[in-house]
């Protein structure tokens, strides 16, 4: 197999980083676990295969080590197929075949320079490198593609080692940048944010080895190192019947906390940002260890607001975070209220938020619902079509609450469904997709209220029966050699349990199965008028630049006073024209959002996760004037050049 045979797949590698966590109970890549560097993990092998195929890196002796460390055990295929329908072993096989084509003894070792020698003195010989092959595996997940800079990768294990690395970088006058699991970079580096989000040369500090994790059930807190992922923390918290407010399973908690403050559907009750953080240990740019709780440091919570507060690179490196956990109730249940229109869904969700109903509360789009729960993108597309055309199901108010509140939601809603129906939809999604032309669905579509007919009326039983849902049925959509695994996997109760899925968040990366996406939206006042204006401000640029844009989810904060919206632009990041269009749409969406009072686009929260939200969002800033918007455009041009260069 040639590297070019797998190029289509490797080019689309989204760098979600889920292969680094044991989210399906398969274990993880043994080579990755042993060596740590991204090159030894499935995502890195995919990137290496791409970089070699596109002549962005020359092979070195390190390539042999990377290639030989893989025994093609297939764990990564199970993990990756579940999320992105990709099979990393194919890229690995192509790498193995490629190595055999190289002339014997043609591969050379990379000589050490002074900087890597010093880094190795700090962290040990195995944990620092200047080898281009290892460095190439970080392209597109922290290093900009085609960057000409000189890089080093270092993997410290202690705070003291990071202090020494920062001081070393200062001594050599080179920049440094920490990397958690690269999830933010994986998305941002495909856009015009690539330049400001990363460094042009210098030391990449990969924090994967810093996995200290301690849950204290007495104080209901956890203290973690920067290499701990959301999934790992949630798993440890659940062992004590506790829950952490965490982002997607694969993201590193410290990085996410520092970057965006961790806003989730659970933020309705658990809050956001410093609502959840008790203390952080961090290292400043001089290599000094500080704590948020230190009394002699400048106010760590103060923050600038608005247009000029954009800063995509954090000023400090978090090395330890103590955060609040939350007790899991015995009677937590899910209830979903389907809607045809967004204003109706917002009305109900806002009402619930104001009354503090819903430990987790969100308005979810049809797109998210169908993409997250469908085993393949093709099924998701059919499901999406059916939901829109026949069921008139475009939005869902998605609630996790106690039994009493569930009754209230069910009373307030004309129609709703719960765990049992969601399980049927997950396990029956392939059957549902196959019913695209069925008479049953056409009959449902003719009903006055199809949602009521399916989820609340007499047709519900026929619908559920029609789905014939079972793990055996669902497993048929997977490649033959993976079917047994997926049948067993989908027999596990948690895979169809909405409460577990909301806590562990293993499904969102399914958004990346076909295309890359760019997160749009941000924070805004919680009134419906503003929210709809913002959605319009995001939708228009997508239409103008022919980007597939879609509402993702909306969660309320502070009893409905504020809202956080995610709207996504989907595009093919391997297509230069699509990248140009998405960049233009991003700039246009900023412009439109800044014209609305009280709106803070997501990027402008970056690096402010540890500041108090009160300093970031209040007072609501007035929308920018025409004159200010003109200056904004000049700023964009200065930063990124003219449109033609994007």
């Amino acid at each position: 197999m040639n590297l070019s045979d797998v190029l289509e797949t490797t080019k689309k590698e989204p760098h979600c980083g889920l292969c680094k966590i044991d989210f399906l109970g398969t274990g993880v890549c043994s080579a990755g676990k042993k060596h740590g560097f991204v090159a030894y993990w499935p995502e890195g092998r995919m990137e290496l295969a791409r970089a070699l195929a596109e002549n962005e890196v020359e092979p070195s002796v390190a390539l042999l080590d990377v290639v030989n460390s893989c025994n093609l055990c297939g764990v990564c295929d199970r993990q990756c197929y579940f999320i992105t329908q990709r099979r990393p072993t194919k890229a690995q096989q192509a790498l193995k075949d490629y190595v055999t084509t190289l002339p014997p003894n043609s591969l050379k070792s990379t000589p050490e320079d002074e900087i890597v020698k010093d880094l190795r003195t700090i962290v040990g010989n195995n944990w620092a490198t200047n080898d281009p092959i290892i460095i190439a595996s970080y392209i597109r997940s922290i290093i900009k593609q085609k960057s000409l800079g000189k890089y080093y990768i270092v993997m410290p294990q202690t705070t003291e080692e990071i202090v020494a690395i920062v001081k070393l970088a200062n001594k050599y006058k080179i920049p440094y940048l920490p990397r958690g699991n690269g999830t933010f970079f994986g998305v941002a580096l495909q856009t015009l944010l690539a330049e400001p989000a990363t460094i042009e040369q210098g030391i990449i500090i990969d924090l994967w080895r810093m996995k200290d994790l301690h849950v204290d059930p007495e104080t209901i807190t956890a203290t973690i190192g920067p290499g701990v992922t959301s999934f790992e923390l949630q798993k440890a918290a659940h062992a004590h019947k506790l829950r952490a407010n965490v982002a997607e399973a694969e993201s590193c908690v410290c990085a996410n906390a520092q970057n965006l403050g961790i806003v989730t559907t659970w933020s309705n009750t658990y809050g956001w940002g410093t609502d959840n953080f008790i203390d952080a240990e961090y290292i400043d740019s001089t290599g000094t260890i500080q704590h948020l709780s230190d009394k002699d440091i400048p106010n760590p919570y103060a923050s600038e607001q608005g247009l000029l507060s954009l800063s995509l690179i954090p000023s400090v490196i978090i090395t330890k975070l103590t955060l609040k956990l939350h007790e899991i109730l015995d009677d937590e249940q899910a209830v979903f209220v389907p809607f045809t229109t967004l204003p109706e869904a917002l009305d109900l969700a806002h009402e619930l938020a104001k009354r503090n109903i819903g430990i987790s509360l969100a308005v979810l789009s049809r797109k998210y619902l169908t993409e997250f729960i469908s085993p393949t993108h093709e099924i998701a597309e059919d499901f999406n079509f059916i939901a829109e055309k026949y069921l008139k199901l475009n939005y869902v108010v998605d609630v996790i609450c106690d039994a009493q509140n569930k009754k209230i939601v069910e009373e307030l809603a004309e129609v709703s469904f719960d765990h049992a129906m969601l399980k049927s939809l997950i396990l029956g999604s392939s059957k549902l997709a196959s019913m695209k032309e069925s008479s049953l669905l056409k009959t449902i579509a003719e009903e006055e209220n199809p949602l009521k007919a399916v989820f609340g009326g007499p047709m519900r039983k026929h619908f559920e029966k029609g789905l014939a849902s079972s793990p055996q049925e669902l497993a048929k959509v997977f490649p033959e050699d993976l079917r047994d695994f997926f049948e067993k996997l989908y027999s596990k109760p948690e895979l169809t349990n909405p409460v577990w899925l909301h806590s562990f968040r293993i499904l969102p990366c399914r958004m990346e199965r076909k295309h890359m996406w760019m997160y749009r939206g941000g924070y805004m006042p919680g009134d419906k008028k503003t929210i709809l204006k913002v959605i319009d401000a995001l939708e228009k640029p997508a239409q103008t630049y022919n980007i597939d844009g879609a509402f993702g989810f909306l969660s309320y904060l502070e009893r409905g006073k504020l809202a956080h919206l995610e709207y996504d632009y989907y595009y093919d990041h391997t297509d230069p024209d699509a990248r140009k269009r998405v960049n233009k749409a991003i700039v246009e969406s900023w412009r439109r959002q800044f014209a609305i009072k009280g709106v803070t686009p997501l990027e402008f929260i970056c690096s402010k996760g540890l500041h108090r939200k009160e300093h970031i969002l209040y007072p609501f800033l007035p929308g920018l004037s025409e004159e200010e918007l003109e200056h904004f455009e000049e700023l964009i041009e200065t930063l990124f050049g003219g449109e033609d260069t994007w």
């Binding site: 200062n170 006058k173 920049p175 330049e195 400001p196 460094i199 042009e200 600038e304 247009l307 000029l308 954009l310 800063s311 995509l312 690179i313 954090p314 000023s315 690096s607 200010e628 200056h631 904004f632 000049e634 700023l635 041009e637 200065t638 930063l639």
Partner: protein
């Protein structure tokens, strides 16, 4: 070749801006003063200052100094950063706005700075043409 931030460099920079830039077209008739505070200047890691003042687009002052009394000029905007960052800005490798986004510059009065992004970028683009020893 002149040494970065030396008096000779400042003289050349001033001359170049006065002769090559149009106060209306390039400098947008801007009225402002900007003090760059440049930290960790080699060889002994001292702090240097680079002050500019424009009135109606005319470059009135361009001063480099190691004397912190220059702060008494009460510049409208101050930008603080490391020597390597200012080398990148003055040599045209990075705009000051990008340095700000990368968290390599701390700036006061950012709202005013926003209004002069373009002419300041043009100013930096002009002085990068000086044959400089960094």
């Amino acid at each position: 070749m002149v040494k970065y931030l030396s008096k000779e460099w400042a003289e050349l920079a001033k001359k170049k801006v006065l002769t090559e830039l149009d106060k209306a077209r390039d400098l947008k008739n801007m009225n402002t003063s900007l003090l760059n505070i440049i930290q960790n200047v080699p060889p002994d890691n001292k702090t240097m200052y680079f002050y500019i003042k424009f009135i109606e687009g005319n470059l009135e002052e361009l001063i480099t100094s190691s004397d912190e009394s220059i702060k008494q000029k009460n510049a409208e905007i101050t930008a603080t950063g490391d020597y390597t960052t200012f080398v990148q800005i003055s040599s045209g490798q990075m705009s000051s706005a990008m340095a700000l986004l990368k968290n390599r510059l701390k700036m006061t009065n950012k709202m005013k700075a926003l209004t002069i992004t373009k002419p300041i970028d043009t100013f930096n683009g002009c002085i990068k043409g000086i044959q400089t020893e960094y």
